[in-house]
């Protein structure tokens, strides 16, 4: 089970004429169970790329195949849209229904599920994101706090039971507590229900701490696709394309400059402290 991207190329059009391609010949595979972090400078094509994962943008050149469903087939798109959940930037701006319950139920309703199943899914999804169904079901989504609205919007996607959850900067604009809640939710989804997470983020620290794999896009091309350790140790190259590295990696680089040979593949606090414990044992 995987998402296979094969020679995907895409250009937006303006007035009928194609512009310079936003995505250039992307080929790689997203394996089920990954926590994939996507990073890239603004304009690198990250958001355009994820819109190909559920057929919001057509794959004219090249192919995107989700669990065997080829998205160039128009009739496959509806199936794939229930396999691949999409959480866009500031998802709370999509809330529209009179009650939180109805909003979360929008996706399942579109899937033509029966009422019992819908109720089941809505309740579960709300519990998952930490919105107590008894308290929140009948409230208007517009009277919730910012963090609660964001979680209600995510619940609306989770209620469709996606196997792949794509998130475009899900923590943008939230306060530290809100950020932590979302990250904890993603970890829980991945470990408990085996949901594959694909997350665009600008926070290198969050990517280092949570992603199992990192995709780096640069001007629409695949720049790197590897583990966080192997990506972030190439600080120089990342800097050249306008990206930074996690705080911990920065410290390792500074230390190397001062003559301490600490591997720059270290990008989390845990790994850093482990190295210290090892080092002390050697000493």
């Amino acid at each position: 089970m995987s998402i296979v991207i094969n020679h995907l190329t895409f250009a937006y059009t303006q007035g009928g004429k194609p512009l310079a391609p936003t995505l250039k010949d992307l080929s790689f595979t997203i394996e089920a169970g990954m926590f994939l972090g996507i990073i890239g400078h603004t304009g690198s094509g990250k958001s355009t790329f994820v819109k190909h994962l559920n057929g919001l943008l057509p794959s004219e050149k090249g192919a995107v195949v989700v669990d065997g469903h080829d998205l160039s087939q128009k009739n496959e798109r509806k199936t794939v849209r229930s396999l691949v959940g999409m959480v866009f930037q500031y998802p709370e701006y999509q809330l529209f229904a009179e009650t939180v319950y109805e909003d979360v139920a929008f996706g399942p309703r579109n899937m033509k599920l029966d009422e019992a199943e819908i109720k089941n899914r809505v309740t579960n999804a709300m519990q998952l994101v930490g919105l107590d169904p008894e308290r929140f079901s009948s409230r208007s989504p517009f009277e919730l706090s910012g963090g609660e609205r964001r979680r209600a919007a995510i619940a609306g996607v989770l209620a469709m039971h996606p196997k792949y959850l794509v998130l475009d900067e899900p923590m943008a604009g939230l306060d530290p507590l809100g950020r932590r809640e979302i990250l904890a939710l993603l970890e829980k989804l991945r470990t408990e229900s085996g949901c594959t997470i694909i997350m665009i983020s600008h926070s290198m620290d969050d990517i280092a701490n949570h992603a199992t794999n990192v995709l780096v896009l640069e001007k629409g091309s695949l720049f790197l696709y590897d583990t966080p350790q192997n990506v972030f140790c190439r600080a120089q190259e990342l800097q050249e394309i306008g990206l930074s590295v996690p705080s911990i990696t920065k410290i390792c680089i500074e230390m190397n400059e001062k003559g301490i040979r600490i591997p720059t593949t270290i990008c989390t606090e845990e790994a850093f402290l482990n190295w210290f414990r090892e080092d002390m044992r050697h000493a």
Partner: protein, 275 residues
Amino acid sequence: MIRFDHVTYQYEKAFSPALSDINLEIREGEFVAVVGHNGSGKSTLAKHVNGLLLPTEGTVTVCGMPTSNEDDILKIRQKVGIAFQNPDNQLVTTVVEEDVAFGPENLGIVPEEIRTRVDEALASVGMTAYASTAVHHLSGGQKQRIAIAGILALKPQILVLDEASAMLDPSGRADLLKTVEALHKDGMTVLMVTQYMEETTGCDRVVVMKGGKIILDGTPAEVFKHTDLLKESNLVPPETVLLRDSLRSMGYALSDQVLTAEQLAEELCPLLSTI
């Protein structure tokens, strides 16, 4: 320059006050950061500085003028410029330079003078090349710099940033911070409201808010001593500070001055070579 004297503010229909008994003084030339979780009252505080909100109790004075005096409100707003969170929702006109001119136009300044002010303001945020660009072609970070230029054109003495970086990407955020730091070097008093604690390490002073009250107020080094208190207030200290604390608990003698990667490496390396 700005004085909060026992300021309490209660939103209508709210159970508890958004600000309760705030005493705060911001002196000329200071760069002060105000941090706090959502609902801590930090944005409410910012909206008091130019009289957008008036205290329920207590007084706010700006350059000696109480904000409650309606006759002075235009003078106060000219002295205190505020940049807000959403880059899309604070620019008024379609073309960059016309937007920058909006403030001085409101003050009834003569056209030639507006022209010079607009050119100067655009230059000091590094956006001269975009003078006749349409606003919707700019990135979020660029829009925020135009918003700041629009404020500078009013020749204010105090610049308030009300979470102005919250919706920007890291490079936009870095550009904005650089712009603000440069303005501060040239003598601007800055009050920066933010959720990102790593942005505050370069400030003169950090004020931490929780539940409408000020719980910490001091230099970044003093404030980041209290990591536990910060965590309790739902704030996340910078990753480097967290690491510093973990290393300390392992027995490394690192000072409170350690706030950035360089400083950490600086103090840590000598300790390692002695092992």
